[in-house]
Amino acid sequence: MPSPVKTGVTTYATPSDREIAITRVVKAPRRIVFDAYTTPRHLQQWLLGPEGWTMPICEIDLRPGGAFRYVWRKEDGAEMTIAGSVREVAPPERVVTTESWGPEWPETVNTVVFTEADGHTTITLTVRYPSQAARDAALQTGMKEGMDQGFARLDALLRTLA
């Protein structure tokens, strides 16, 4: 069966009120993708966001209850840290973690599932937010699904401010 999602495109969807699912299809077998997604020396090569950032610290204790910590650094010295803990690990299919950007930030539950077909792997990362507002805020740019009337208006407002 042909894959419903093309390679080279990241899709964003809202499977429930509090979740965002980020899907990407890559051309590699699942066990390699799983390694690339869970091994520090690999993550430091790609999980970097926009140009100009590096990840000097990447620590993962990949077992239930294990801690992880990612620290990114920008050329100008700005830093960002994400820390959390591992809930479930089922190589090469699934990892569940909880994570937060700091004490003032809501903790999210992140489930990443890898499925393989025809030499391609679909990576589905589902981020569950503690509230619908936090989730919707993450979708403001370009996403309309799951937004009620009030949020649609707010979205229009935000566009005028951009």
């Binding site: 990241t10 890559v26 690339a36 690999h42 790609w46 507002a133 707010l154 935000l158």
Partner: protein
């Protein structure tokens, strides 16, 4: 991603309620008194005032100076912050996954080379 603001989670929780979002949408078209803001809702004055206090605490609305019927106005600064954060979120994943494509290609090529008989 940029350094993050402590106030963002306060903004999120203020935006979590549909009544409060409707109030903000109304204020986007101009200042309004508490009475005007209450009109569309089947809700007591005190209940609407509670929502207004939450929005004020989040810095999303401001009060006018006129003594009794102080009109509320929208302050869009926290919303802009939320929008910027949302944009960063997407940019982060788009850019990271584009890099992952290239990286996986090098990993699979390396594996294929290693697997070839010498």
């Amino acid at each position: 991603m940029r350094a993050v603001s402590d106030s963002l989670s306060v903004t999120f929780s203020a935006l979590a309620d549909p009544t409060r979002r409707a109030i903000l949408a109304r204020l986007a078209s101009g200042a309004a008194t508490v009475k005007e803001l209450s009109a569309p809702f089947e809700m007591s004055g005190p209940a609407v005032s509670r929502h207004l206090r939450v929005l004020e605490h989040a810095g999303l609305i401001q009060r006018g100076r006129e003594a009794q019927w102080r009109p509320r106005t929208l302050d869009a600064t926290p919303l802009r912050e939320v929008a910027e954060w949302a944009e960063e979120f997407r940019r982060f994943w788009d850019a990271s996954y584009a890099r992952l494509d290239t990286y996986l290609q090098s990993l699979t090529e390396r594996e294929n080379t290693d697997a070839q008989p010498s």
